[in-house]
Structures are given as C-alpha cells and as structure tokens.
Symmetry: C2
Subunit: 329 residues, 2 copies
DNA sequence: TTGTAAGCGTTATCAC
DNA sequence: GTGATAACGCTTACAA
C-alpha cells in the first residue's frame, strides 16, 4: 500500500480511498489503480481486521465432524455464511466439556466475529461461558429457558413420538429403542419422548426393549445384538441414523429381513438414511434448516449486537422409506 | 492492555512483557498479573497477528466436505494442526476451478498461515496460482513433476491394480469398473490403472464393462443399473467408496447377492466401506496418512519457508472384506 | 479532492 | 528491570 501510493505519486490515504472505492479524481484513481496492478497489490486482511475490529470469520463447533447430521448443518451454514461474505472456521469438540468451554472463552481473543455451537451436553459452565462471551454465539440445541442466548432448537421428543406413532399404526407392538447417552440433552429428550409415546399408545414400557450406547454406528450394531439376544422386537426406533445403520446391519447379519421381520426408523434424516439398503425411514429434525436459521441469527446479531435474544423452533417430521414400509408378507 | 498497565501502575511495555512471561521484577509481575486478572484481560488475537505476521490459522480446501474420505483426512490434519497450536479453517470448493484458483489468490490477503489443498483437477491456472502464492501450500494429489510445491500423493493406478488382481485371483473374469469423471486427475489415473491391470492379467478391455459418472453415491447406483442391463459382470471395481455403496445397493435391489453373484471392491477405505452390509472391500489410499503427512509438511514449511519442495508418497493397500470374500457356493 | 496524522492492540527495540 | 517509542498495514477524521 505504501509502495502503491509512492508509485502513484499520491498519499497513502488517497491510495486507500481509491482502493476502497471512495472518491478521488479521475486522474488519481487511474494512477492508483495502475500502480496497484503493477505491483500486484493485495490488501492485508489482518491489518484491515485490526482497524475494523472484525475478522470476517465465523466459527462452527460440532461434536463429531464425521456425523452426517453435522455435515448437513455445516453445508447449510456455509451457504449463509459465505453469502454474507464471511468464512467458516470448523472446530471439532469431541463433546469434551472442558474443550467446549475453553473454546467459548477463547472467543474473547476475538479471532472470529461469532460462533455457532451445537453442544450435546449443557453444563453450568457452558451457560456461564455463553453469557460471558464478548462475541455473539448462537446455540443449536436445547438451552435452559433463562439463558438469554440466540437459540435454534427442535423437538426431538415429538420426533420420537412420530416414529413410535408410525410404527404403532403399522401394527407393531414390541417396539424397541436404541438411544444415545442419557446424560446428553438429546439423549434424555429422546428417552422421555419414547416412554411418553408408548404410554400414549397404550403400550407398556419394557426396559428390556431399551438400549443405550453412544451416538455411533458401532453402538447401534452392538445394541441390536443385545436386543435380539433377549427376544426379537417387531420394530426398532433409533436415536439417530448412525445408530440406525448399525442396527440395520446387525439385523441383516442375523438373516432378518427389514422391514418384513423387523421395521426400523432412524432419526436426523441424513444422507446415510438414503444411502442404506433398504433405505431407512427417519425422523427429520430439520438439520439443514436449523443450520440455516442459526447462521441467519448469527449474521443478524453480528450486524446488531443489541438485538434481544431470539429463539427459533424447527418442527420434526417423519420421512417414510423402505425400512418401515408395510410390505406384502 | 492499556488498562492493565495503568491499573498496575507500570508502562504498557512492562505489562506486555509480564503477560508474555519475559522478565520483570517480582513486584511488577505480581502487580501486572493482579491487574490483568481483575479486568479479565485477554490478548487480542488480531493485534498480535498484525505484529507477528501470522494468524495461527491453516486452511484446508476440499471438494466435498461430505465425502468420507475427506472427513478422514480432515481428522488427521486437524490433529497435527491443533497440536502445532493452530486452528483449521475448512473450505469447500465444490471442485470449481475458478473457485479453487480464487482461493489460492486470496491467500495473498494472508488471512491464514498456510493451506492444504486437494484439487481433483489441476489446470494451468492452478499451477500458476500455486507457484505465485506468497503463503505456503501443500497439495494432496498428483501434481505435474515440474511444479515445485510440497506434495503428498498416492498411486491410485497401482491401487486399482490391487483390486483387479485380487478379483482375478478369486476367479473373476468379467470385471467391470465404475469410474469418476475422466477429466479429473484421479479419474484418468484410475482408468489407466484399470486398463493396464486387465491387460496384465490377460483379460480384454471391454468398453461395455466400463462406466463413468461422478464420484457420488447416486452415480454408482445409476452406473450399476446400466451395467446390469448390458449383462451381469462377475465383479465390479469402483473408483471410490461412495460409488461402491451405490453399486452395492443397486445390486441388492436387483436381488443379487454380494459377493456370491457379483463381487465388489471400492476405493479409499473409508468408514462407509465398514458401515455397509456386507462390508465393502476397499483399496486404502492412506487418506489419514496423507492428511497427516501434508499437515506435517505444511507446519515445517511455515517454520522454514526456505525448505526445498518435498514430495511424499503413500503406498496403497487392499483391505479385503465380505464384499469380495470367497464364499461357499 | 487530497494530505497529514491519529489510532486499531500488540510486540520489539532501544536507551536509560 | 523498565519505559518511551516505533513499528505491523490499514482506515478515517480532520484540515488544507
């Protein structure tokens, strides 16, 4: 920039103005543009950030970058973020509480203009760090009601109920459930949703039909083995698609037909559900939509930090595919 | 920082020194630490970057963030990068040439300290932008020999040959191939590898047994339909695991058994291959290893930009699973 | 319209 | 050991 100004024979301020499209006489503009082109001038993003107090970066913190549900969210977020002229910085938290809180605290360094976070556990230290953050944060997921932070949520209790209702309607009565950890927010919500839904349909809650693992493929595969060892269910609801894929393959490995012998419903409606055989019915929790909304909220808040905390809700819906379709016997 | 210095009653310079752990009398150190704690001082990353001329950020540009092969690479890269105290910025290029080149040119803004890029096409403008880049770039993938840029590659020709050899040895003779676009670097390499391998085993190259689509699941599914319509092959080699999963499901949908009726081998050895049923044999191209190496090269080069361009090679190997395992008849 | 100069929050180089 | 002071590369009042 210094060089450009010198080369164009104008002050450094004039050069800056021209390069930012503000004023300047035709002659000055020409000279500066020329000089800039000659030396291949490119503005320094850091210096500009120091001045403007913004980095043009937005962070996304997710637990597991390999989970297709986060891939879908990430895509939606990326679209909004890059449309707003910013770039996305992705963090993987591995669901470590210390790590997530440390990440929130690091925001004080102001290396990003904002963050979208989807924690699966919310602790006291999370909420404190969230409220203390000098940089806007949008949380995707359930958040205590009194925490005034922008928040996008869905209702996975209702989501599980949709799955149970669908299976019940298809005539299934021994409905099993493979859940993720109960000490996570989605884990508890889905557990409650399952139990409530069973009762609502006049079914007993049999603990033998409920399995808990983590939210991974291998856990689904292991859980279905245990369920089958205790007696075959008519149908299985899984707390996410990764678990559902594991369960599906466990069933197939035992020579069972899906949906003929056992029907299956997953959750999150990810690509994985469509990339399975048979394709897996899945409760969509609107992950792309949640991502999009969260990104919008964040962009708006960065533009106007005085906005009151907002809360968006995305309704779940069931996508029925072959794994739970009624079939001729 | 200004505030901290004032509060501690020392100069701003002394405060900076203490906070960076350089010298200071016991008394000064105490006062500064105290003042910093009281006001909750956190250093500003941007200002620090402006001074140090580095951002502590490393970018990764991949074509498709949803492809499990990139997820594996990303994980490996993230590990090395964060161990070096830096953070990872992920870009999705959607394989757009203009986008990739623009990304390389944007490096001149110095918003990151370096970049790892895995382009599937390499054009003249790529190599020019690569060589012009003022910021270190490591390329994962084939690069023209005369381009002096750090590079990590594998040998997917040999990889395809491993697959063909394995299938041939198992007695398969009508071996089909589902490839990605021929105008991509991996596409051409795999095509050449397939043809060469067939010849080496004394088989004819039948164009009818070669299908081309993109590197996605749906393309694999569509391609296998076309192949089956023309007459069933004994075995199918797929240019990646996404294609292989699509092909697998196409076969199953036609009521064919894998590997009994048709054997199948994928490529990249991703989680998807293990999360399929039956599990898919796959040629590992060492994606995690390539990611790790690339990240190491980048970290080294950032530390010492004068290093000569280096080239690392990762050998492919075949991972045999159920989809190509010999089975009792 | 243009130039001078202050400032963004740090770090680093000096004298002292 | 410590404190001025000059960078880092840019934007932006303010004055000319």
């Amino acid at each position: 920039m210094h060089t450009v100004a010198a080369r164009a024979g104008v002050s450094i301020a004039s050069a800056s103005r021209v390069l930012n499209g503000l004023g300047g006489s035709a002659e000055t503009v020409r000279k500066v543009r020329e000089a800039a082109a000659e030396v291949g001038y490119v503005p320094n993003a850091i210096a500009r950030s120091l001045q403007s107090q913004r980095t043009g970066l937005v962070a996304l913190a997710v637990e597991d970058i390999g989970n297709p549900v986060y891939v879908a969210m990430m895509r939606a977020i990326e679209a909004v973020v890059s449309e707003s002229g910013r770039q996305l910085l992705v963090h993987q938290t591995s669901a470590s509480i210390g790590g997530e809180v440390a990440l929130l605290q690091r925001l004080a360094h102001r290396y990003v203009d904002g963050m979208i976070m989807s924690p699966i556990r919310i602790t006291e230290s999370h909420t404190r760090a969230l409220l203390d953050s000098p940089v806007p944060v949008v949380v995707i997921g359930q958040l205590p009601d009194d925490v005034a932070v922008d928040n996008v949520r869905t209702d996975s209790r209702t989501g599980v109920a949709l799955a149970v209702g669908h299976l019940h309607e298809a005539g299934h009565r021994r409905i099993a459930f493979i859940n993720g950890p109960l000490d996570t927010v989605p884990g508890t919500a889905r557990d409650a949703g399952f139990r409530t839904a069973l009762v609502k349909h006049g079914l007993n809650v049999e603990e033998d039909l409920i399995e808990v693992g983590d939210f991974q493929y291998a856990a689904g595969r292991a859980a279905i083995e245990r369920l089958l060892d205790r007696g075959r269910p008519d149908a299985v609801v899984c707390a996410n698609d990764l678990i559902a894929a594991g369960a599906l393959h466990g069933l197939l490995a035992r020579g069972l037909r899906v949906p003929h012998d056992v029907a299956l419903v997953g959750m999150d409606d990810t690509e994985l559900a469509q990339m399975s055989f048979p394709q897996i019915s899945s409760v969509s929790l609107g992950s792309a939509e949640r991502g999009r909304l969260a990104a919008r909220l964040l962009v708006e808040r960065i533009a106007d930090p005085t906005l009151p905390a907002r809360r968006e809700q995305v309704a779940p819906h069931l996508v029925i595919r072959a794994s739970s379709q009624a079939v001729a016997g």
